[in-house]
Amino acid sequence: MSKAQEEIVVEKEIKYHLKIAAIEKAINGNCIGATYQEKDTDAYRWTFEDISDERNFRPRALDSQNPQQEKTAKKCTGWSLSFFDSQKNAIEKLNYYCADKPNFYKKLGTHVAKGKIEKTDGKSGDINTSGHFEHFEYKDVDFSKKFKVEFKIYNE
């Protein structure tokens, strides 16, 4: 990158950055550390049938029914979104949860939606062995417009 190009790079603002900054201050560390990077990748997420359902891309900390909402809001992961690297991994993980809580799909989602996460959408963490990764969105990103419901796992 040339010097001229460097000058026009503007650090994009993370959605809920004030909340995240407060957490980082409290934990004296980073929520979005070095492992989080802007990426272009296909991503899969549990959603409900209607992609515009307000529960679909809501961070855990904003779920008013979360019995630990206050505590969740004080954690970095309270403000990120969960994604998977494949439809198979997304289905397997939801089935894993539902083996413990058979009605859990009513909270987490009944379908899998697929979309493309681009570098301009935010910063994604490392993919773990289950194909799961966390993603911190940039301000003004609306994944409901970028994702499409692809597969039904459970009937709501």
């Binding site: 630990q68 992961t77 083996a99 413990d100 058979p102 009513k106 909270k107």
Partner: protein, 435 residues
């Protein structure tokens, strides 16, 4: 409609939330502690689509079971199965703002509210596991190795009751003609259970409907509660001669104080078994039955008679034992051919009376002036027969079969205490000619 027994108050309002055991995606298994640091688990189980209300249940657990679950020694299913008191309390909303409370025994929890038996704890699923271990000091906690290996004969009911965390009543059929070496003839065993259940059920009716059976069970919830308490279920059998373990369909629990439970339904099971022993003990002689004959509805004695007849007929020797791990109360008794016969004799010799007095209008159809015995047909075409009171004997010759008379009848209803029906004895106390 939620299953279980409705309770009027929710006694888990002073708990402290330690953290979420499961899951990172959504806290759905939460660990709470009371002021004595006893762990309580709150399980999210459902979301009502129409009301958008979250449904949970809460149960008390032990350090042992919590530690075992975290160490993968027991599954999530077993953690719930081992809940203290063998029951959970369902509620809607949140623990801070709970509504619609119901208590339910573990075995009655619907399957979609329970984890798969293969679901074990995974450290990666919990964000708060460190806090939970630290709060309860589980790192240093030694899981109890206490295994009851010696089951003494006289503590067998305690052993099973403690193990199953529930009150139990044992009917132990000792060796006899129909019972031996771990076998029992089906019809004899069935008859014993049916006749005992009849006795239990009638005593339960005394508790739930009142001795005079005037308390109505009207609401759907009351009917569910009634059915759960007035009936027993077999939970275990043992081939030691032959033992059957039963308990009320609603089991005792220590999650709430009994006084906090609507209608004290839960406490009723223990009291009913207590009264079963009480009524058997107190009907073996004419003196003793005076203590209980007015305490219970007559149908209790009808069913006791049937139970004693069954024992006598098949020469059974039955030990009756009760133990509650909640109250630590224990009762025991024994019924064999000798005391079954005493019970039958006592019941047959114990008469109960009821008096009635009423007027009827009609005509005489037969009169015996010597014996004072007469028959009388009322205007409603009902026939009465009985003796005319001695004070009226001088006027008997003046009665005829044509005139209408008004008779004042004193009716004495008499029966053996264990008879199903009364036999009326009528006495004509006054006669007036109706012009």
């Amino acid at each position: 409609m939620n299953k279980g027994l409705h309770i009027s108050s929710f006694s888990f309002t002073d708990l402290f939330c330690v953290g979420a055991l499961l899951f990172k995606e959504y806290p759905s298994t939460l660990v709470y502690a009371d002021k004595n640091k006893i762990p309580h688990i709150v399980e999210w189980v459902d979301l009502d689509k129409e009301t958008n209300a979250n449904r949970y249940f809460i149960y008390k657990t032990s350090y042992d079971d919590l530690k075992k679950y975290i160490d993968h020694s027991i599954s999530h299913f077993e953690l719930i199965l081992n809940a203290t008191g063998g029951a959970v309390v369902f509620f809607d909303g949140s623990i801070e703002d709970a509504s619609n409370f119901n208590i339910l025994s573990i075995e009655n929890i619907q399957s979609d509210y329970l984890p798969s038996p293969k679901s074990y704890f995974n450290y990666e699923d919990s964000e708060d596991i460190g806090e939970i271990i630290q709060y309860f000091n589980l790192s240093n906690y030694q899981v109890s190795e206490k295994i009851i290996t010696t089951i003494t004969k006289d503590k067998i009911v305690e052993y099973h009751a403690e193990k199953q965390k529930t009150e139990l009543f044992r009917l132990h059929l000792n060796t006899g003609k129909y019972v031996a070496h771990g076998r029992a003839q089906t019809d004899i065993l069935g008859g014993t259970l049916i006749s005992f259940e009849g006795l239990y059920h009638e005593i339960a009716n005394d508790h739930l409907k009142g001795k005079d059976r005037t308390k109505k069970i009207t609401t759907k919830q009351d009917k569910i509660d009634y059915a759960a308490t007035a009936n027993t279920e077999v939970v275990l059998n043992e081939a030691a001669s032959f033992s059957i373990y039963i308990r009320p369909k609603s089991t005792q629990t220590q999650i709430n104080n009994n006084s906090e439970i609507n209608g004290s339904i839960i406490a009723a099971g223990e009291q009913i078994f207590h009264d079963v022993i009480d009524v058997i003990n107190n009907t073996i002689s004419s003196d003793l039955i005076e203590k209980v004959k007015n305490k219970y509805n007559h149908t209790v004695f009808v069913k006791l008679h049937e139970f004693a007849e069954h024992v006598k007929k098949y020469d059974l020797n039955v030990n009756l034992d009760y133990y509650s791990p909640i109250s630590n109360n224990r009762w025991e008794d024994r019924i064999d051919i000798i005391n079954a016969d005493k019970i039958i004799t006592t019941l047959d010799n114990t008469l109960v009376f009821e008096d009635d007095k009423f007027d009827i209008i009609g005509k005489f159809t037969a009169i015996n002036c010597k014996t004072r015995y007469c028959t009388f047909n009322s205007n409603e075409d009902e026939e009465y027969s009985g003796y005319i009171d001695d004070l009226l004997k001088e006027t008997i010759p003046t009665f005829n079969f044509v005139d209408l008379y008004t008779l004042t009848i004193e009716r004495k209803l008499i029966k053996k205490i264990a008879d199903a029906d009364y036999k009326p004895t009528d006495k004509i106390m006054a006669v007036l000619i109706k012009k």
